[in-house]
């Protein structure tokens, strides 16, 4: 575990040289990352130089109210792989699921790492943070998750909230949110918080965000705190089925001719038009496929409050239009879906809030 202060740590370039990793091998590694981030391919060389010069940082990974799905996803990152990250790029000093140490030994290792790299480590948070009854719904090693988050965040250079739960509360915060679950940025406001939402997030988006942070610092974020490099486009904008939407060709059922022909899944509830994520380009399982290519619509898992935005099989505008004829017309006309669904989501939230008030009164 960590003994050195961060400024005494070697640069990533030094670690690579010590391990005999050649320049072009590293350039190839960076080409994979810049491609992931939709950076201009010509930027790869500059990116590689910046990354080589970066210090190898300490990473503390804190799991809270979570299902371990995000970590399962992270361990399946192909490029960059988690192994290549740990051995070449970062020093993962605490993750109680992956590390061999347990109990007091693990907690001591965390405190030691946090002290040694105070002010400079990257904190990864997985899972939402329950806040009701003073945080008693979630405890570990005798401390509430709330206290553990504040303590770990205090010495962090930046926090990466992986998964929709750490980012926005996720399933824990879904109505009626019995534990008062919130995301990291709801509690920590004095540190950069980079949200990498998804249920789970695409593994390469998690590892790519970490590597890009090392090379270039906190990336440009959207209004929901997500790196624009990965969350800058809607699924719909980058979907290969978009051409069928534009031509008004929709699957009406999962077993009809439209579905067999690979037409647009909008009428079957696809949330691609209102969901920002990189599934359409990076895909899953090492680029093998992704939900829409497999024949199922996007469920919008990288968006705030996605569990409370209605059924997965209703068109995103269904709450605005009373009959399916109007929905079909909206789809064919290519209405401003982002605005429409935002209104729909808002009305849904108001309805839930009203129900909540009725329940509590």
């Amino acid at each position: 575990m960590s003994k050195k202060r961060t400024d005494e740590r070697p640069t990533i370039g030094q670690v690579l040289d010590e391990n005999g990793v050649g320049r072009r091998r590293f350039l190839k590694y960076c080409a994979g990352i810049t491609a992931l981030m939709a950076m201009p391919p010509g930027a790869t060389t500059a990116f590689a130089q910046q990354l080589r010069a970066a210090k190898r940082p300490t990473v503390i990974y804190m799991p809270f109210q979570e299902c371990t799905g995000c970590l399962e996803s992270l361990t399946r990152s192909f490029a960059p792989s988690l192994e290549s990250l740990i051995f070449d790029t970062v020093s993962l000093d605490y993750n109680h699921t992956l590390q061999a140490a347990a109990g007091h030994a693990a907690e001591e290792a965390r405190y030691e790492a946090m002290e040694a790299a105070h002010g400079e480590y990257i904190l990864i948070v997985d899972g939402s943070i329950p806040t009701k009854i003073n945080g008693a719904y979630g405890t570990s090693a005798g401390h509430t998750f709330v206290d553990q988050l504040y303590e770990a965040a205090e010495g962090a250079a930046a926090i990466v909230a992986v998964g929709v739960c750490a980012a926005y509360g996720g399933v824990g915060a879904a109505y009626p949110n019995p534990t008062g679950a919130v995301g990291v940025a709801d509690l920590i406001t004095d540190k950069p918080v980079i949200n990498v939402p998804g249920c789970p997030p695409i593994p390469e988006v998690m590892t790519g965000t970490l590597v890009s942070f090392l090379a270039t610092g906190v990336p440009e974020l959207d209004i929901h705190g997500r790196p624009k490099a990965f969350f800058g486009n809607t699924i719909h904008d980058r979907c290969y089925r978009r051409r069928f939407y534009d031509r008004g060709l929709f699957a009406e059922a999962f077993d009809d001719e439209g579905a067999k022909n690979g037409w647009c899944l909008y009428k079957l509830g696809c949330r691609g038009p209102t969901t920002y994520n990189a599934c359409a380009t990076i895909k899953w399982n090492g680029g093998t496929s992704w939900p829409i290519e497999a024949g199922h619509g996007c469920i919008g898992c990288s968006e705030p409050n996605f569990w409370d935005q209605g059924g997965f099989y209703e068109p995103v505008t269904s709450k605005l239009f009373r009959d399916t004829g109007q929905v079909a017309a909206a789809g064919a006309a290519g209405v401003a879906l982002g605005v429409a669904s935002a209104v729909a989501a808002n009305s849904r939230r108001k309805k839930l809030a009203a129900e909540d008030q009725e329940t509590s009164s």
Binding site: R23, R24, K28, A31, A35, P41, R243, A259, K260
Partner: protein
């Protein structure tokens, strides 16, 4: 097993020998090639970032054809650099050891940047050679 699933993904109906997405990329390539000729400016297109149906990737590759150079480097998995039938247009594919494609792009340049020695590499070479000569003196 996939043969038993009655689902097919169709590309847009084609009205010519070059499909819609491929046609657009071909035009983009032409513009970059003209620019390379006139100004020497290079360009790169990330193939994986293009929203196309799976068969369209094959169509683009087929359209570009094969030139004289076909080079494979072993760098934690194969990296293949192919000159296409169009001079100045290179197809570059980086693969992981298990065959997964890490990055794939079309580079419009006289020579692929990946093969060029980078400034920090040359700096290191100068230092190394200088030390060696000084040691020999």
């Amino acid at each position: 097993m996939s043969d038993s699933i009655p689902v097919t993904v169709k590309s847009e109906t084609r009205t010519s020998s070059i499909g819609g997405g491929v046609f657009a990329i071909a035009h983009e390539l032409l513009r970059h090639l003209e620019n390379l000729l006139e100004t020497g400016e290079t360009a790169t297109i990330d193939v994986k970032s293009l929203p196309m149906a799976p068969d369209e990737f094959h169509e683009i590759r087929k359209m570009l054809g094969q030139g004289e150079i076909d080079l494979t480097l072993e760098l934690d998995g194969p990296t293949r650099i192919q000159e296409t039938a169009y001079g100045g247009v290179w197809w570059i594919q980086h693969k992981a050891p298990d065959g997964r494609i890490l990055a794939e792009y079309i580079e419009i340049a006289r020579f692929p940047d990946f093969l060029s020695a980078q400034p920090d590499h040359i700096t290191e070479a100068v230092r190394h050679l200088r030390n060696r000569l000084q040691g020999a003196a």
